[in-house]
Symmetry: C2
Subunit: 235 residues, 2 copies
């Protein structure tokens, strides 16, 4: 039995609630592996074995140890029932759709960590925003991208069922981090001759909300336009 | 800090996955108050202080003690930070919209238990289905309703944010149970001169999924039609 913990929601980011609402110290109580972003949508975060790496919009990767750093949105878990995983030659679309089908993930939450060499990888990194914060859809229009080839590292992230697609990123949400921790971000495309790693399927998804935060409590969510906005911002 | 625990999803019921996937014994480990339905969508369940009451489609209320009874869908919690609550003269629409506004519940999960006299209450009770199970939308077309007047009891149930509206019932989902435990069901309408009770706001929502169940793993969810179907089935 394993739990995926999430703080904040994708709907909050869409509504421009980009201020950090949980400290890194608190987040790490709920998991040692995960993904997230910092206060103001500052970069792309990968957490591996309790170590926190943030790729900022300059393309630099920072090893973050200040536990007072805050996050508006993050997902973490403790590994509990990992199973070994191997994938062959793939691009991003075939990798993700093969994983979903082969392991029957459509209706569950899952995590993968796939290690090896990527022949090519393209990532994007969210740039830190200033108040008054725009919504995620606006930010998504102006995100720097970076490419690397013949790079050794890990593809890490979560699968979430479509019905949770306004709460978190529906489908696959994957980041890359190189073995030397110098290149990281949200994956837009990749190609590989093969990767191996681990898969964890969760039976529980714990959604934590910043209920003491007045801006969160007063937030207006337009559910009608939310799904279309998320499609545009996340894909 | 309080957690609302849910087993199963509304999307599963919509897809006709009505077989029980968790025992009552397991469910009660996660809460002593709550709502649910039994295997085959058999009735409307209210849980109060660990005691389980099921209204069946004949209108009878059964005090259930068999912990092997299974449920496809249920929400429970342990009271942790309840605040006192008082409401004046109301019908169902004004009661629920006033609660949402007064306590700023739009974006959070919450529970209310309101005790007192209802001048009028109309309830519906889901009738047990047989395999092959229909979806919730079909079941909703043929549900017996019951009415009572000048009846003393409790209005109990949950509020969920709209963005969780395919996972659980978005907005208010309230059941009634009379003080003498002889009349209970899912509330369609009510009127009262005043009720008093308790409100709990949750900072965590824990969604539990039956990941070992092959029918759940293979379930096809048509997300495009899901929201419209839920509107029709639940309102």
């Amino acid at each position: 039995m394993a739990t995926l913990y999430e703080h904040g929601t994708l709907a909050m980011l869409m509504a421009g609630k980009l201020a950090g609402t949980q400290t890194l110290g608190e987040l790490l109580k709920h998991g040692s592996y995960g993904l997230g972003t910092f206060d103001g949508l500052d970069g792309e975060v990968v957490i591996l074995d309790g170590e926190v790496y943030q790729a900022d919009a300059s393309g630099k990767v920072n090893h973050v140890t200040d536990m007072q750093t805050t996050l508006p949105f993050a997902s973490v878990h403790f590994p509990e029932n990992e199973v070994p995983l191997k994938v062959g030659e793939n691009d991003f679309a075939s990798l993700t759709s093969n994983l979903t089908k082969s392991y029957q993930l459509a209706n569950v939450f899952a995590y993968v960590k796939l290690d090896g060499v990527l022949d090519q990888v393209k990532i994007r990194i969210a740039p830190k925003q200033s108040k008054p914060y725009p919504g995620l859809l606006e930010v998504a229009k102006h995100q720097p991208t970076f490419e690397a080839s013949a790079i050794s590292g890990s593809v890490v992230g979560y699968y979430a069922p479509d019905i949770f697609g306004t709460v978190t990123a529906g489908g696959w949400h994957l980041h890359f981090i190189s073995d030397d921790r110098s290149f990281s971000g949200h994956i837009l495309s990749l190609s590989t001759k093969g990767l191996s790693g681990k898969l964890e399927i969760f039976d529980s998804f714990e959604q934590h909300l910043p209920i003491e935060n007045p801006e969160f409590r007063q937030m207006q969510v337009d559910t009608a336009s939310l799904q279309a906005g998320i499609e545009a911002a996340e894909h």
